[in-house]
Symmetry: C2
Subunit: 228 residues, 2 copies
DNA sequence: CAAATAGTGTCTCTGAGACAGTATGAG
DNA sequence: CTCATACTGTCTCAGAGACACTATTTG
């Protein structure tokens, strides 16, 4: 192995949630160089004998403070441009996590702070390394996957109403969906959601049925993004 | 950097083409240990100062013998399970390439032979490392992407007929599509294909119009896989 | 009661699939 | 001419979008 160039390998996480009707990403303020003081995606080095998904799960647990992530985690892509990290040749495997709204995040070992930042308000705030690019790729992936998978349920608690699920779509896509057609579509797509049998109580208006995520992994037909 | 575990980083390629009405993958027979003599995906180590896409393009050119790949190349995923390579801790970034039918491939530096192998005939032939898994992921990605992108054109030469394009879909999906509805769909989807203005000559039957790949990157509405 | 939210019914239009029919070449 | 392939027209049915209407709660 000595004849091959040595790399360091990290994992970085694009952790998204929907809170207060806004799509938010988990960012940390770096407490150590390089880019000390800058905002970045949470992440860290992969252990010498650690598999890549395990490293992603470990970092996610460290940053959110939760042992068991209830949402969804998938590989997003790998970024390894020479010079992307001033410390040397570092290749990072980026992951996309979709979580229901959680308690306040916990600062990890190398982070001075961690917080949920609304994506809409990011504006021109620049992130460390090439994390702007990684975040953009993660957002695009998340928006696209809501169309043809039931992943919107990953943003919801275990039991949710159709209106909650609709809010997720509207928030992530930034569109408005007709509540009546949405209801018919969601309840009519086989395996998307399964009724729990109970309803909400105490809210204004008619109580809503509670649902859990269904067994489907792909939506046929897909949810449509464009209100043509 | 000394405090972080050192990795080697490779690229591996799932190169697919359609030839003789079969979906085929480019495999090499390994000429050096480990797995000497076994079939594997083409690939190799990333250079010390080389970007990941550049490494993929370089390996593709080395294996196919062609300087400019006319098809499509995208990142597929990264695989880094400890123990996947007996030489040490090796993380591989896998790429998916879709190419038109090419002249016979050329054996690369570390390969004793390279050839197109029909995917249907692979059966239980086991590949080196975790390349079975990578190949399966690549096939699934390719099949899925034909639905909602114009990538089927990457399997065709620069100018092609609607029937050639239909053969690509039928070969990759293993289904039969109605030629008349397919024609209407392809020519009616904006940006999928653009007419060249010329026709084929010398074949049996009525000459067919020639088309080039159109400007669209996403198909709205998508091609449908299931003949329900 | 009014207001608010949940859920249903129904109409129209688009597009997929089935398939008859027409166009244009080779032999 | 026949045969083969390219292409067009038309019918039917499923599903998306628009939106009127009914149902069930709180205040």
């Amino acid at each position: 192995m000595a004849e091959y160039p040595p790399f360091a390998v990290t994992v970085d996480l694009v952790v998204l949630t929907v809170r207060a009707d806004e799509l938010a990403v988990l960012l940390v303020r770096r407490g150590v160089p390089p880019y000390e003081g800058a905002w970045a995606l949470p992440g860290g080095f992969v252990g010498a004998d650690e598999d890549l998904p395990d490293a992603a799960v470990r970092e996610l647990a460290e940053e959110t403070g939760l042992p068991e992530p209830a949402g969804h985690l998938e590989q997003l892509g790998t970024y390894g441009r020479p010079g992307r990290d001033p410390r040397g040749r570092v290749v990072t495997v980026a992951w996309l996590a979709l979580l229901p709204d959680l308690p306040a995040p916990v600062a990890g070992t190398d982070a001075a702070a961690a917080e949920w930042v609304p994506v809409a308000g990011l504006g021109r705030r620049r992130l460390a390394f090439d994390h702007d690019r990684i975040l953009a790729d993660g957002l695009e992936r998340a928006r696209a996957k809501l169309e043809y998978t039931p992943l919107a349920t990953a943003f919801c608690p275990a039991e949710f109403t159709v209106a909650q699920l609709r809010t997720v779509y509207e928030t992530v896509w930034g569109t408005h969906l007709d509540p009546r057609n949405f209801h018919r579509k969601v309840t009519g797509t086989p395996g998307f959601v399964t009724p729990v049998g109970r309803s909400t109580e105490g809210d204004r208006g008619r109580p809503a049925q509670l649902f859990r995520r269904g067994p489907a992994t792909l939506l046929h037909p897909p949810m449509l993004r464009q209100q043509r």
